[in-house]
């Protein structure tokens, strides 16, 4: 990798950034390294081979020289032997017949083409030598022959010979015949030709060469930059005191030069190989990179939402990758479709959700209006909450699914959506049947009894209808108007449908305005309390005041609680308003005499609010009003929804020490059972019974029974809405404890309360005796 990084440093970045370039460079560099290694090894190998070859050639040459010399010596020896054995020659030698000897030597020498043929006698006299010999040479020669010299290289004067000797015996040795041939440059050149390389053979006295070379080792010499291998071989010497060597030398430099063309060729092949490796890996890398580029392009297209497939037709890893990529793209597309489906559909019923409904409406609205009417039907299930609460959510969900199926079946080609909870919407036109007929069919279909999880349920539904283009030109408006119509339908009684009317919208707007104003009223001090006294008949004095809420609207004047309390209850504003009422009532009542209580109405919404206890405690603590002077009035309707919870809440209120009165007794779903289950402090008899006192005889009996019952249970009774003296008379007769009503006093302001508490103030009460 360091090699690559070095290459990268030397090249522009763009050349090394692509995969193709990287691979090309890597393989070219790898091949170059291999070529360099091969060249190095080849060069070393050739060098070693050349040296070995030279050494082997030297040894071979020396052996050849040795063999040739041996052969020569044998020939010379044989020839000299022939002469020395000749009887006549021996006689000539024995008789020192020099002319005869010389002629015999000359004759034989010529015949055998000898360079020298001479005789040495026992006294060292030499006969027949061609040339001059000094006395010492003659003596040395005689001595050598006397010592048994037989053959070898013999140096005489400046000449060197291959010489062989044979003794002349008669029969004792009387001299020696010596035959010799010159060992000159010509002879050595002939030897040199016997070897395949020029070894430049030289014969030298051993003393003239280096000691190292005499041991037979190959030595190196450098002459003017040329490297030579030199080896000396000992050869046979005629005189044992004058050893001779054959010195061979060869230039390794020249030997290697013979291989230079091969190395150049190898280098050229290597360079060609590097180019081929580069081109080849470039092409291969291109082949590899092309599918990668295709994958990259496909990935970019997929990122843009185009589920492109990539075509790679190789069977290798890249082909597998392409297959995986294509599968992944398919899977992503499938998942995206699922997610989209989930985003636009209801998970439980599989129907379209609110968002898809909006899109559908927008699409339908974008088409030009035709003579066909299209309508949005919003519906919800009556009392679905009860099903959920009593039979459990699984049953509720199953019911919703069944209803969804029915809606889909009845809607035909219409569009069905679930808006959430038990709300559904259907978009239909009046091509097959009139819209009211469709709505009617839906109500009837939904109302079919069904079995859900083993429970027999009879669902019911109400429908609000808004017409496309007519009741709104956009989805939001249409849904809002259909909802308003539904609201009205539910208020008008369940199991019916209502078309949207403009008035509904106006009313809704009014309600919304009032809601906004009510917020304003609470913070802007527009709310006030009026107090209506409760007259204790036995004590003939005011024993309590009922706090009544008044709203003084800056534009619309006084607004009746009947108009805004339901709204406050719907919006939850009743909680802060109720809180204010309790505080204000307590604050006012604390200035009153101890026997005068303050009664406050508690709305069902307020009652169910878990913060009620805290509010009451804080109000009492802040004002210092004794708890028993605070009377909370609740209505019977609380017992309908959840009697157990209501009882628990009542007991916890009672634990605070406050009084609890049952308001509007006798209306609604009055049941005697809850009178038994909770010890109310007081029962307030509904004004409808009081009004009937004058027209119906039975009413008196009812009053009597109520007062009797209350007395039996230890509860006080208060009659509301007393307007006539005759009513008062009856009530007194029947044992009612307190009265309240216009006959006695209409509600008064805080300031007026003081006057009513004075002694002797009271209605004109006729004593019945």
């Amino acid at each position: 990798m360091t090699l690559l990084s070095q290459i990268r440093l030397l090249l522009p970045a763009r050349l090394t950034s692509s995969l193709s370039a990287k691979l090309t460079l890597f393989y070219a560099a790898l091949f170059a390294a291999a070529v360099a290694l091969i060249l190095l090894v080849a060069k070393t190998g050739i060098s070693q081979y050349a040296e070995r070859m030279v050494a082997a050639e030297m040894v071979a040459d020396a052996k050849v020289f040795d063999r040739v010399a041996t052969m020569r010596y044998a020939q010379l020896g044989d020839a000299s032997q022939v002469l020395s054995s000749d009887f006549g020659f021996r006689e000539a030698v024995a008789t020192a017949d020099a002319p005869t000897i010389a002629s015999a030597l000359d004759s034989l020498g010529s015949r055998l083409h000898l360079d020298q043929a001479f005789l040495v006698d026992m006294d060292g006299n030499v006969i027949g030598f061609r040339g001059q010999l000094s006395a010492s040479e003659r003596e040395d020669l005689r001595q050598a022959l006397d010592d048994g010299a037989a053959s070898g290289v013999l140096r005489l004067g400046k000449m060197r010979f291959n010489a062989a000797a044979a003794p002349v015996k008669a029969p004792v040795t009387i001299g020696w015949v010596v035959f010799a041939n010159a060992l000159d440059a010509r002879e050595l050149a002939a030897l040199s030709k016997l070897s395949s390389i020029n070894l430049a053979p030289q014969i030298l006295p051993a003393k003239d060469v280096l000691t190292r070379q005499n041991t037979g080792a190959i030595t190196e010499e450098r002459v003017q930059g040329e490297r030579f291998l030199v080896q000396a071989f000992p050869i046979a010497s005629f005189r044992s005191d004058e050893p001779q060597v054959l010195l061979l030398r060869h230039s390794v430099t020249r030997a290697l030069a013979n291989y230079a063309p091969m190395l150049w060729l190898l280098l050229a092949c290597g360079l060609a190989g590097i180019v081929m490796a580069g081109v080849g890996s470039w092409l291969l890398a291109r082949r590899i990179a092309r599918p990668i580029i295709a994958l990259d392009a496909a990935a970019r297209r997929v990122a843009k939402g185009d589920y492109a497939q990539v075509q790679v037709e190789t069977n290798d890893e890249l082909g597998t990758l392409a297959d995986s990529f294509n599968r992944m793209v398919d899977d992503i597309g499938e998942r995206e479709r699922q997610i989209t489906h989930m985003a636009l559909h209801d998970g439980l019923t599989g129907l379209a959700n609110r968002m898809l409904l909006r899109e559908h409406l927008a699409m339908a609205l974008s088409r030009p209006a035709t003579d066909r009417r299209q309508a949005l039907l919003c519906l919800d299930l009556d009392n679905f909450k009860v099903v959920n609460d009593t039979l459990g959510h699984p049953t509720g969900d199953a019911l919703l699914c069944q209803v969804a199926e029915r809606l889909v079946a009845i809607a035909g080609e219409g569009f069905v959506a679930r808006l959430g909870g038990d709300e559904f919407a259907v978009v239909v036109d009046d091509q097959d049947r009139p819209l009211d007929r469709t709505a009617h069919d839906i109500i009837r279909a939904v109302a079919e009894p069904c079995m859900v999880n083993g429970h027999r349920i009879v669902p019911g539904t109400s429908i609000g209808i808004a017409l496309l283009h007519i009741d709104g030109d956009d989805a939001v408006t249409l849904v809002k108007h259909a909802d308003l119509a539904l609201y009205r339908a539910k208020h008008g009684g369940r199991g019916i449908f209502r078309f949207f009317e403009e008035a509904m919208d106006a009313e809704a707007r009014k309600r919304r305005q009032m809601e906004l104003d009510l917020h304003e009223a609470l913070s802007g001090g527009q709310l006030s309390l009026m107090f209506q006294p409760l007259f204790n008949l036995a004590e003939s004095r005011v024993s309590a005041f009922e706090a009544l809420l008044r709203w003084s609207h800056p534009k619309r004047g006084m607004i009746s609680p009947v108009d805004f309390i339901p709204l406050a209850e719907d919006t939850g504003l009743i909680v802060p308003i109720g809180e204010w009422v309790i505080r204000e009532a307590c604050r006012t009542a604390r200035h009153w005499p101890d026997h005068v209580r303050i009664a406050v109405n508690i709305s069902p919404v307020q009652f169910r609010n878990p913060g009620l206890n805290t509010v009451i405690m804080q109000a009492l603590a802040e004002t210092g009003l004794p708890p028993q002077r605070l009377e909370l009035e609740i209505t019977e309707s609380l017992f309908i929804d959840n009697p157990a919870t209501t009882l628990a809440s009542l007991h916890s209120l009672r634990a605070l020490g406050v009084r609890v009165a049952l308001d509007d007794f006798g209306t609604g779903y009055s049941s005697l059972s809850y009178l038994r289950s909770f010890p109310f402090d007081k029962i307030k008899i509904d004004r409808s019974f009081i009004m009937d006192l004058l027209s119906s005889d039975g009413a008196t009996a009812i009053i009597k029974s109520i007062t009797t019952l209350a007395e039996a249970l230890g509860m006080e009774t208060t009659a509301e809405g007393v307007e006539h003296a005759s009513q008062l008379d009856i009530l007194r007769e029947q044992g009612c404890n307190q009265i309240q009503g216009f006959y006695f006093s209409k509600p008064v302001s805080k300031a007026e309360v003081g006057g009513m508490l004075g002694a002797g103030w009271g209605p004109e009460i006729r004593k019945t005796g």
Binding site: E91, V93, A94, T95, D146, K169, A170, P171, V172, I174
Partner: protein, 201 residues
């Protein structure tokens, strides 16, 4: 002729010289091994007796088993040596030695040739047919001569007392004419023992 006269003279003189000793020579080579067939001759400074020389061995060199026997024979000057051939093959005895050059060409079994040696010196005998055959005849002009036996010992009795030259000759002796000269003092009586070491080929 003169030698014959001299020989007769010396024979006459022997009884006169009363004082004479024995010379015992032990010859060894460079390695100390006994050298046999080394010829010892003694020349008293006073001169050799003028009388005929006679040795106790026969003047005969036999050819037997393709060899000369004895290998070395000492003969006085003027002696005639017989060369009987006892082999089945024929021999061609020759000598190129200066004191006596002769050839006894191709004689067969039981044939005897003879030659008379008139000059003192060493005569090398050879056979022209059998190169390996080699023998020597030492022609001496002194009566005090002998050759070493296998133990390298030679005993020469009755040598004239006084200074003398002892000459040791052997064909393989490495010296000029294959001989060395040793001056000695021969006792008038008794034995002079000398150990002589010679260099041989």
């Amino acid at each position: 002729m003169r030698s014959l006269i001299l020989c007769a003279l010396s024979l006459c003189l022997v009884p006169i010289t009363a004082q004479a000793g024995t010379v015992a020579v032990h010859v060894v080579d460079a390695a100390g091994k006994p050298v046999s067939d080394a010829v010892i001759t003694i020349y008293p400074t006073a001169g050799v007796p003028k009388r005929p020389i006679r040795f106790p061995w026969t003047n005969e060199v036999m050819q037997k088993n393709i060899a000369f026997n004895p290998r070395t024979l000492i003969v006085p000057v003027g002696a005639t040596v017989a060369f009987p051939n006892q082999d089945k093959v024929r021999h061609h005895v020759y000598s190129f030695s200066k004191p006596a050059r002769f050839e006894l060409k191709l004689f067969g079994k039981d044939q005897t040739r003879s030659y008379t040696f008139t000059t003192p010196g060493a005569v090398a005998l050879g056979c022209n047919i059998h190169d390996q055959m080699s023998g020597f005849i030492k022609v001496v002009d002194t009566p005090f001569a002998g050759k070493t036996n296998g133990s390298g010992d030679a005993l020469i009795p009755a040598v004239t007392g006084g200074a003398a030259r002892v000459i040791i000759w052997h064909p393989a002796l490495r010296a000029k004419s294959n001989e060395i000269i040793v001056p000695v003092q021969v006792p008038d009586t008794g034995t002079l023992t000398r150990r002589l070491q010679i260099a041989t080929r």
